[in-house]
């Protein structure tokens, strides 16, 4: 009797396995979350040191135009003005998105509406393949082809915002194209049929119905491309010239947050102002990627509301 009672009250082997499995998989998930918090903690603790330990004014950091940590600027304060890099990063991001958007959306429309068969057979595999091309390869081609082209056509050294924009344009084009095509494919077929049945031409259907229904998805694609452009380091660093000056025109050497980071981190001593200032740049980069993430979520939520209505 006691034996049966004991075996009934004891946990079965299966339930032990079950518990162990649940704990193991939860640990894996917790580990990933921990990594995210560690990233934020470590970058923020270094990045904030510039303002709390070295007592740099936060607004001076954002708006200053002289970047030469370790020396003092004209106002007697250490020369840690990050504006040239911030402007450089935003300029190439916005410019490359402006150039890439019409091409990406045009190609996506062609793939889904005009010639779906050729789109599925040739364009889609090629764009998906190009999404996977390493960014250093884009940088190398930029160096070999784009920089000489810009130098010969527009003058200057060839290094600068314009070259960076060209390289990033080609780099984000496949990403934005394939995501836009997904958004267009997600538009229900009966939208098109209803429009065509009303006597609209194909272009009218595309322009007045399909494109409008796919706006949230395409906006997500563009913001995603911008986030990629903003965070890209090596391809940009290779063609932008890396001069920490406010860009006067599109062909003068400039710099971005990422390019100065990749150049500088190895050449400064941990804990010094030069080093802390670089970590502040990394922190800005981190915050901007959060902002892009939030924008994408916001668009997604808005889009859902519109479709449900």
């Amino acid at each position: 009797m006691d034996k049966i009672r004991a075996s009934l009250l004891k946990k079965s082997i299966a339930s032990k396995i079950e518990r162990r499995g649940k704990i193991i998989s939860l640990t894996c998930l917790a580990l990933i979350i921990l990594v995210v918090f560690l990233i934020f903690y470590f970058v923020a603790s270094r990045g904030l040191a510039t303002f709390f330990q070295n007592h740099i004014n936060f607004w001076q950091f954002l708006s200053g135009t002289q970047w030469n940590p370790g020396t003092t600027g004209t106002n007697g304060q250490p020369a840690v003005g990050a504006l040239p890099m911030i402007v450089g990063s935003f300029l190439i991001t916005i410019l490359s998105a402006i150039v890439a958007t019409p091409f990406a959306i045009g190609t996506a429309v062609f793939m889904t509406e005009i010639s779906p068969r050729r789109g599925a057979q040739i364009l889609r595999p090629v764009t998906e393949l190009l999404v996977g091309i390493p960014s250093v390869v884009y940088g190398f081609i930029g160096l070999q082809v784009v920089v000489p082209f810009v130098r010969n056509t527009f003058g200057g050294s060839g290094y600068g915002i314009l070259s960076g924009t060209f390289v990033l344009f080609v780099m984000i084009l496949p990403t934005v194209t394939s995501m836009s095509a997904d958004a267009l494919n997600a538009v229900p077929r009966y939208y098109r049929e209803a429009s065509l049945a009303l006597g609209a031409t194909r272009w009218q259907t595309i322009y007045k119905v399909v494109l409008r229904a796919a706006i949230p998805g395409m906006l997500t694609a563009i913001v995603f491309g911008m986030a990629r452009a903003f965070g890209e380091a090596l391809a940009v660093q290779m063609v932008i010239g890396n001069a920490t000056l406010l860009p006067q025109n599109l062909v003068s050497p400039a710099s971005t947050l990422t390019s100065i980071l990749t150049m500088g981190i190895g050449n400064t001593v941990m804990g010094s102002l030069q080093n802390n200032a670089l970590w502040s740049l990394a922190m800005i980069l981190l915050l901007m990627s959060l902002v892009f993430n939030m924008v994408i979520r916001y668009i997604g939520r808005k889009g859902k509301l519109n479709n449900e209505r």
Partner: protein, 294 residues
């Protein structure tokens, strides 16, 4: 102008845009292959790099790339598998789970240079691992975890509930159902996800510059004891990968044939990524056929 005319014009413009984009993309691929493939030879693929004279190869860098890829997958696969299983099979549908998903998404959208800098701060400096294969593999793991977790979660979500119910009906616990029925059923798409993420890891450079380092010390390919510093398997040696090599010789400019070497190395990278892509498709299809007996 009537609607039909506008329609014709718009169609023409769309054709032109698509053609232009195709030309750019094909020119891009063609340029790399035409410039790079003639540089590739057995000597190029196996001999070490030379800094101040022409005629160096990419042997050590190529080995480092594969070794790092292998280690990064070895670390990130079990963690992503566990996390993917929890997210898809156990996690309740509530705010906390939503928050966790958002956090993973944030991790996947971080610029790779930030991941690299974190790796430098955390693994290289804090844990005193130095510029080493191990630091690089950990940084790549951080970079890879969110992508792989996501693709494994999707693969598991695509398995129909009938399979799970069949498992429960046989008296299996949830964990046993997952590991013995659901994961094997999802294996083809999981493998595809792994191989595709391998392509991304293989070409990653920004996360490695300050973790695996920018130098490739000479290796003794007859010494396979991982505790010797000159052994190819040693996890504590600095290891410049192929992608980092391309970046470095182009930004330093002391190698006389930097252009030829980087063209060849770029072509090798592209071909590797192409192979990973084909392998992913082929393996996925093959495994699916094998497992479903179709």
């Amino acid at each position: 102008m009537n609607a039909k005319r506008i329609d014709k014009i718009a169609t023409g413009v769309l054709y032109a845009i698509a053609a232009f984009v195709v030309i750019i993309l094909v020119a891009l691929l063609g340029y790399i292959l035409v410039q790079g493939v003639p540089e590739i030879s057995w000597h190029f693929l196996t001999s070490p790099a030379l800094s101040f004279e022409a005629g160096g190869g990419i042997g050590i860098q190529l080995f480092n790339s594969f070794y790092l890829l292998f280690l990064a997958l070895l670390i990130s696969l079990p963690i992503s598998l566990g996390a993917g299983i929890y997210l898809n099979e156990y996690a309740p549908q509530n705010t906390l789970t939503g928050l966790i998903r958002t956090t993973i998404e944030i991790l996947s959208s971080l610029p790779s240079v930030v991941v690299g800098l974190f790796g430098y701060l955390f693994f290289v400096v804090q844990f005193k691992l130095g510029f080493s294969i191990l630091s690089g593999a950990f940084a790549l793991t951080v970079f890879n975890l969110p992508i792989l977790t996501r693709s494994i979660e999707e693969a598991l979500a695509n398995i129909s509930n009938d399979q799970r119910e069949a498992g429960y009906a046989l008296g299996l616990s949830r964990w046993e159902t997952v590991t013995k029925i659901v994961v094997p059923a999802a294996l083809p798409s999981i493998i595809t996800g792994i191989v595709l993420s391998a392509g991304r890891i293989f070409g990653e450079a920004a996360a490695l510059i300050y973790t695996a380092g920018q130098s490739a010390p000479a290796l003794n390919f007859h010494d396979w004891n991982p505790f010797n510093i000159s052994s190819p398997l040693s996890p504590m040696r600095p290891a410049e990968t192929l992608a980092v090599h391309i970046w470095k010789i182009n930004s330093e400019g002391i190698m006389p044939d930097a252009k030829a070497v980087s063209a060849g190395a770029s072509a090798v990278l592209i071909i590797a990524v192409l192979l990973f892509n084909f392998l992913a498709r082929w393996l996925g299809k093959r495994l699916y056929k094998h497992l479903t007996a179709e």
